[in-house]
């Protein structure tokens, strides 16, 4: 398969490199693994790790497109760094939330955390 080239792209730097699709495949696989983790893990921290994987996949996509399509500038790298700074902040926040939940409710099993369920003040429709 031919690597994805835009007209005017310096093909010389791209020769011998892994085709873009492979990198995208890697990112997609990582994304799916992360999504699977988020959906299936019962432990809050493990679910958080799944989110990390999904965000890493996003980072890989960004870097791949930057490298293959726009490697003259450093926008892609700068953007990925920004994404990772955000990721770190959200992880810190997520971990803090998990610790707080553990303190108040004594569990971090996600299935036990169902405060979003409708309030018992309003009985469910159809049961009256």
């Amino acid at each position: 398969m031919e690597p994805l080239l835009l007209p005017g792209e310096r093909s010389s730097t791209l020769q011998g490199m892994v085709p873009l699709e492979w990198v995208l495949l890697l990112a997609a696989a990582l994304f799916c693994i992360g999504l699977y983790g988020v959906l299936s893990r019962r432990n809050g921290i493990a679910a958080l790790m799944g989110i990390e994987l999904m965000l890493s996949a996003v980072g890989i996509n960004l870097v791949a497109f930057w490298r293959y399509l726009d490697s003259e500038t450093m926008m892609g790298q700068a953007f990925v760094l920004l994404v990772y700074a955000t990721v770190i902040a959200q992880t810190a926040l997520g971990l803090a939330l998990i610790v707080a939940v553990h303190r108040t409710r004594g569990t971090i099993v996600l299935e036990d955390l169902d405060l979003l369920k409708e309030s018992p003040r309003f009985p469910p429709y159809g049961e009256d």
Binding site: L24, F31, C32, T73, L110, K117
Partner: protein, 803 residues
């Protein structure tokens, strides 16, 4: 392709061992320690090969460096960074020291951690994994050819230190268990990590400044004479000038690197973390103190030494020297007041590294490197001997009480609980004594004498204040070294645990003996040629080998001067003698308070003793400044939330209520009145209408009446049968559907996410379908997204099963 290319592989094997242990073999302790030791051993062999190749390399006046680079390592826009290994004499010397001590330490720890006994440490395999990684990162720091790679390994080392320090994270003391606080090893780990991060920030700032000025971070570029001169000439705008002359960029960068090094090497403003690290296994302490974390800071200063000396005037050099000397004296005094042997040795490390940094600040570059080496060997000897002692005391304490060996029974690390171990543990006694003497620079025979003396000589030439500071610190070193020997080994046993102690296994003492050989013999590699009588018997190899830093003029071996040698000797021996007179002349008795403490109390100076014992309250200062400050900030935020945000919400509610009340009033008084008015008008009108109706309309209506009645009956039946049926049917459908939908709102966030992803997937499918219709899509992306769908379906099924 030469042997030197093997240097690329040195960090690799310990790293592989780390990965293998952590991912696969951690359940098999035997395999894990074999992997760990094997990785470090291969690294050791490769390092030795590289070291001896370097030594045998033909030299031209002692200045040579070998570099092997991988270009185009990292592209950033138009620029790219290279990476590679850089081997100069400094690297070679570190390659000799670090893997050797690491290897001996990990071999020692097999027995220290009670391998294949019932008391084996529950983190046995992880200890070997982390030690391997720590060794690998230190090798990376030593070998890298640019500061960026060094910085990466530097950060990795923070992680390793943290992991090793909190190895026994689940062992809180009883009081901590009650209050729910984390164990002290976790607290120490956090403190280390935070201090390290503070240092990293300075390091990063220095790197940014350096890169913006030079456009490169490779040693070859930044340490070239032209670059250094340019850096020294360019003034740094942004901070006020000192004594009329502005700071040069070189000075600012050097100070930023100094801050990083100081945080790693636990020097003055940042030394509070090292003495807190006492809960982890002693071999881990030996690695942290001697070969890796604490040494890495001093190594950074040695590596960036050309920046320190760039330019004239050298305000940065004065800062470095003063800081080192201050740390040295402060912590050697603190070491005198410690009862816990591990804390005492930690303060001793701080003080010795202070010597190294002071030496660098005075331009004694070779002496600094030499002292770093000799300190590594002597401190490793001391720490590992201490490990033997505390382990045996702990075990015999548990034999004594007949309970399981926990550290709660009695603290086996307190020197007041030991005594009289010389007869019971002779080999350990001799290794500890030799290590102590080497540390305090016992003249002529130990390596510490030659390195310490060299530093003192330079201090004497440089500035008298620093000379006297270091000399006093040296005598304090002698004092606490002798105090430790006397308290642990001499006199009568002061507890039953000490009474029952016996020698450790040869597997633990053999590495110790090897280390002792180096702690003594290393000095012979650098005896100054001008030293009376024995100078020149062996060549001053180290000075010839290391020569001078990159980019500085080569200075020959120093001339001999009498005064500093004699004064240094007098101070060192005086300290040892004082220690002997205080603690050894009349051995301490059971239950006796520390003699210095008692003496200080007599002269009403016990506050000074307490301050020294607590490390001059630096931890507390940080606690007040940082932790309290954070709490204050949090409280401020809370108050803001409470008073301003909450109140504004409340007021908004009140506003709404007031509005609704106004509306109500309007409704009652205006709308109702209007409605009434309309009503009465309508009534009047309808009365007129009724009259009209009776008279005029009724007649034709009476005729139409029966017809309309018939029609309405038809319409009524249609209404009842068809329309109501349809409406009721809709109602029933809505009710049933909402019951289904209602089940979706089960409060489980993962279900929500699942449905969100299903929805996203549906959109995606629609998108792909449209693209497919247009015959425009790469087939590969279809495959990718089929994968997405497949995995999602799997996850849905798995999730269904779980819930």
């Amino acid at each position: 392709m030469s042997i030197l290319h093997l240097a690329w592989l040195i960090p690799l094997f310990p790293f592989l061992a780390f990965v293998a242990i952590l991912l696969f073999t951690y359940r098999d302790q035997r395999l894990s320690h074999r992997l760990g030791i094997g990785g470090v051993a291969i690294s050791f062999l490769l390092s030795q090969a590289v070291f001896w190749t370097m030594v045998l390399l033909p030299t031209d006046d002692g200045r040579y460096a070998v570099e092997s680079t991988a270009p185009h390592w990292l592209h950033v826009g138009q620029e790219h960074f290279t990476t590679g290994v850089y081997i100069d004499p400094i690297t070679a010397v570190m390659l000799f020291t670090v893997p050797l001590i690491s290897l001996l330490t990990v071999i020692y720890s097999v027995r220290y951690m009670d391998f294949s006994t019932s008391e084996v440490d529950s983190h046995y395999s992880h200890f070997f994994a982390y030690s391997s990684l720590l060794t690998a990162t230190m090798m990376g720091i030593v070998l890298s050819n640019n500061l960026l790679i060094l910085f990466i390994f530097w950060g990795l080392m923070d992680l390793c230190s943290y992991l090793l320090i909190q190895l026994r994270y689940e062992n809180p003391s009883p009081t901590q268990k009650e209050s729910g606080a984390p164990s002290s090893s976790v607290q120490a780990g956090l403190k280390t990590a935070l201090t390290g991060q503070a240092g990293n920030l300075f390091f990063l700032l220095g790197l940014v400044l350096l890169y913006t000025s030079v456009q490169s971070l490779a040693y070859r570029d930044i340490f070239s004479p032209e670059t250094l001169e340019q850096l020294a000439r360019t003034p740094f705008v942004g901070i006020p000038s000192l004594a009329g002359s502005p700071w040069s960029i070189a000075a600012v960068i050097a100070l930023l690197f100094l801050a990083a090094a100081v945080s790693k090497s636990a020097q003055f403003p940042f030394y509070s973390w090292l003495p807190e690290v006492i809960e982890c296994p002693i071999p881990a302490l030996a690695l942290l103190h001697t070969t890796t974390t604490a040494s890495a800071g001093a190594f950074l200063l040695i590596r960036t030494y050309p920046l320190l000396t760039a330019g004239t005037g050298d305000p940065q050099m004065t800062v470095v020297a003063a800081l080192g000397a201050f740390s040295a004296i402060l912590s050697s005094i603190a070491a005198i007041a410690q009862d816990d042997i591990r804390r005492a040795l930690a303060f001793s490390t701080v003080s010795q590294l202070g010597y190294v940094i002071a030496a660098l600040g005075m331009g004694a570059y070779v002496a600094g490197l030499f002292h770093l080496m000799t300190h590594a060997f002597s401190k490793a000897t001391l720490l590992l001997s201490t490990g033997c002692v505390t382990k045996i005391v702990r075990r015999s304490a548990s034999l004594n009480t007949g309970t399981a060996p926990t550290r709660k029974v009695s603290n086996p690390n307190r020197m007041t609980h030991m005594g009289g171990l010389a007869k019971r543990m002779p080999r350990t006694f001799w290794t500890f004594t030799i290590g102590s003497l080497a540390l305090s620079g016992f003249p002529l025979i130990t390596a510490g004498f030659w390195s310490g003396n060299e530093i003192l000589r330079r201090a004497y030439e440089h500035s008298s204040v620093i000379f006297w500071t270091l000399a006093v610190a040296g005598s304090a070193t002698g004092f606490y070294a002798m105090r430790q020997i006397c308290a642990i080994f001499l006199g009568q046993p002061r507890t039953q645990a000490a009474e029952l102690a016996s020698e450790s296994t040869p597997l633990m003492t053999t590495p110790l003996l090897i280390l002792t050989v180096f702690a003594v013999g290393l000095g012979w590699a650098a005896i100054p040629e001008h030293f009376p009588v024995i100078g020149g018997v062996t060549p001053d190899w180290l000075h010839h080998f290391v020569g001078s830093p990159i980019g500085a003029a080569h200075t020959g071996p120093p001339d001999f001067t009498w005064q500093p040698q004699v004064l240094g000797l007098a101070f060192g021996l005086g300290g040892l003698l004082l220690g002997w007179l205080t603690y050894g002349w009349k051995p301490m008795q059971t239950g006796e308070a520390d003699r210095i403490e008692a003496g200080m109390r007599k002269v009403h100076l016990s506050w000074l003793y307490n301050a020294a014992r607590e490390g001059f309250y630096l931890s507390e200062v940080y606690h007040v400044a940082c932790a309290r400050g954070l709490f204050l900030l949090a409280n401020l935020g809370n108050a803001f939330d409470h008073h301003i945000v909450d109140n504004s919400v409340k007021h908004a509610t009140r506003l709404g209520q007031a509005t609704s009340r106004a509306c109500e009033w309007l409704d009652d008084h205006v709308v109702d009145a209007l409605a009434n008015l309309t009503g009465s008008v309508t009534r009047q009108l309808s009365e007129v209408g009724a009259l009209l109706d009776q008279r005029v309309v009724n007649r034709p209506v009476n005729l139409a009446g029966p017809a309309a009645q018939a029609a309405s009956e038809v319409s009524n039946s249609i209404d009842l049968r068809i329309l109501d049926g349809a409406i009721n049917g809709v109602g029933v459908l809505v009710k049933a559907g909402s019951l289904r939908l209602h089940r979706l709102q089960n409060g489980r966030i993962q279900h929500y996410l699942l449905w969100a992803s299903v929805a996203a997937l549906a959109l995606l499918l629609a998108f792909i379908f449209i693209l497919f219709l247009q015959d425009y899509v790469h087939q590969i992306s279809l495959i990718v997204w089929t994968l997405v769908i497949a995995l999602l379906i799997i996850s849905i099924f798995r999730f269904r099963k779980l819930s």
